[in-house]
Symmetry: C2
Subunit: 409 residues, 2 copies
């Protein structure tokens, strides 16, 4: 029987979560009441007390609670809840999650939900659904239901919302259970990273991979794109990663606007997924209009992609550092992975005669990758530009071989 986590601040919103739990049980599912509020005693008896959740943080939670600082306590419980429910889900002890909250409750519960894989049913009933949801939803499939009125008591309106919410999470969990009971119906999936400057390469490799029976989903390396790619890799629904465009690390390093954060390139390692990685577009850092470029970069090489997009060429120092980062991230991969270097150009505009042509910077990048990459990871060098069909074909072939090797007995 599916078990649905009903997680919330049961000190201030106990009756409301109990109502949801009861509605879930009335539909024939089990509810697991998890208390994540740290202000007062819960108003109902939870199945999981706040102390058990807090301990999952691995931090000095008693010391943090003792400070009675609301912001600090909420942040701690967000981290703790994420660790706690991720473990429950991994152990298949929960099959869905629902929460009701205002500001603090939404911060805690959505942090927990963001720690769960895509496809795992997650529903947040919140007063914050109509507004900027990005900090709460992130790149996950967190379903946001507007609470309409404060989560404070059961009345004609909140009852209606809560009943609909219980129906929604139960329906999602029922569909998810049915899906797990069926054999997979779709072609195995490959995710790819792309920029305008690597489109020809990705398009060509995509065609070849599709001809081999794969479905290829392409993500633009805009920060959000890279984060979503990583999030899907972690969900376990992906057979391989065609990471042609790792440029988001240049933005992360130099303060550009399209960073995907410091965990970019980590998901394939954590999820044991086969991959191909290239230093595509590590020649460029993205800024907005020219006046938005930090003053410290005066004198650097820029390319005005359009009035709203100003690209800065990474220099040799940055390239050496980017090479080290890329290699060290890839060193943590557990499934077969290959690193392919297109030595004639890592983007359209870094080719000879183009505005970002800088052989010294490229050499710093390539030699740093070589220096830091651990033994056992194939490093393949090509005297080609990244968008050369032969390079694209090499990437596709390497990925197919890595996927095959990973599943070989």
């Amino acid at each position: 029987m599916p078990i649905i986590a009903v997680l919330g601040t049961l000190d201030t919103k106990g009756a409301e979560h109990a109502f949801i739990a009861e509605a879930i049980r009335a539909r024939g599912h089990e509810a697991l009441l998890i208390h994540v509020g740290c202000l007062e005693e819960p108003s109902i008896t939870p199945d999981v007390p706040v102390e058990e959740v807090a301990a999952a943080s691995g931090e000095d939670w008693k010391g943090i609670f003792a400070k009675k600082d609301r912001g600090e306590s909420v942040a701690l419980m967000a981290r703790a809840s994420a660790a706690y429910v991720a473990r429950l889900a991994e152990q298949e002890k929960i099959h869905g999650i629902i929460s009701l909250g205002g500001g603090g409750g939404t911060a805690i519960a959505t942090a927990a939900m963001r720690a769960l894989p895509v496809g795992f049913p997650k529903l947040m009933v919140t007063t914050l659904a109509s507004g900027n949801t990005a900090p709460y939803v992130g790149t996950k499939d967190i379903v946001m239901m507007p609470a309409i009125v404060d989560v404070s008591g059961i009345n004609r309106i909140s009852r209606t919302i809560f009943e609909n919410a219980a129906g929604a999470i139960c329906g999602m969990v029922e569909e998810a259970a049915a899906r797990l009971a069926r054999p997979a119906e779709d072609r195995p999936l490959i995710v790819a990273s792309m920029f305008g400057n690597t489109t020809a390469c990705v398009d060509k490799a995509k065609t070849l991979l599709e001809q081999s029976g794969y479905e290829v989903l392409v993500f633009h390396a805009t920060g959000t794109g890279g984060r979503t790619l990583e999030s899907l890799v972690e969900s376990g629904m992906v057979a391989g990663v065609l990471d042609i465009t790792t440029t988001e690390w240049a933005d992360e390093l130099a303060g550009g606007i399209l960073s995907a954060g410091p965990t970019r390139l980590e998901a394939a390692g954590r999820a044991d997924v086969s991959a191909v990685v290239t230093p595509g577009c590590l020649d460029m850092v993205n800024f907005g209009e020219p006046h938005t470029v930090p003053a410290k970069y005066a004198g650097r090489t820029f390319y005005h992609h359009n009035p709203q997009v100003t690209l800065m060429r990474t220099n040799a120092d940055e390239c050496a550092e980017l090479g080290r980062i890329l290699a060290e991230k890839v060193n943590a991969y557990t499934a077969p992975v290959s690193v392919l270097l297109p030595k004639k150009a890592i983007s359209i505009i870094s080719a000879e005669g183009k505005p970002f042509y800088d052989p010294a910077a490229d050499e710093a990048l390539f030699s740093s990758i070589k220096k830091h990459l651990r033994a056992g990871i194939p490093l393949m060098e090509f005297e080609l530009e990244i968008n050369d069909p032969a390079f694209a074909a090499a990437c596709a072939t390497a990925l197919l071989e890595n996927i095959a090797a990973h599943h070989a007995p």
Copy 2:
């Protein structure tokens, strides 16, 4: 058997909506495929063609389509879809609605959903769920589910999301059907509008109404608060409106930052709900920090509520206009309504000796209300300040009488 509207741009996203419809039918419900795309022929056969939806706009839809302007066509279909599904829901021909969309599809479908009452199940699977959802969700209970990948084909990830979505809308519709089959379990509901400057009045009236067996939900007159109040009144879940704080009209008229739009004070009329209306806080227009006040208001009377909130006293001309607007809105009410005037002060700070004391402006307001209010609507004048317990009691009593009269045989 419940019928779920599956509404979308079936020219570009036909297969995806057909997938949802099939999943709904597999759960034993009916699906009604509504085509709202106007670019090309639908890729599947809809139950409702785009022409039938477009005609519901009452506009020259053929002329607008002929211009081939995407923005104009999307805006037209948003208006048309709203009119079309509102009628279907009113006729009880649909019991839930779901849609999948990117930018255009989300704009059209959520416009349709915003035209449906709170409690009516509505689910939007969209690429825009993680970001500013306010333009799409508004004050309604539109459930937003992140699409994670583009709504473009059925693959391992989109299938997972779509299956969860079908489960969610079916579960919501099942709960809603069960609710309609049960007798109402809650105390009848009154919604009230409040500002800091009318808190004592609303609190006192709330207590009295609760003692008479009602539940009172209070909304702060912040624009969003007034819109939500109106939205709930329209949903048919409300027995009475205690509109003590109509101040949002001052912001609408003078360009303040807390306007609830030009339809504030219309819902009670449209939904035939009993009400009490007072000109509470029509002495004040809300601006942000002092430098944000428009230059044209130099020389007016201001009150610095706090560093972020600057209040401007409405003058006699504005008050006369506000009186006319209030009266004309109330003239359209169909259920019993009373207008109560607290002649000594319409806020804390407009009382004698306080910064917004201005008897001439108050008199312009009161006499304009008197002049424009239609015969048959009781206008009750009190030589009291708005927060006087006796005025609060008079408001509560009038509302109870109006509710009783409305339901009398």
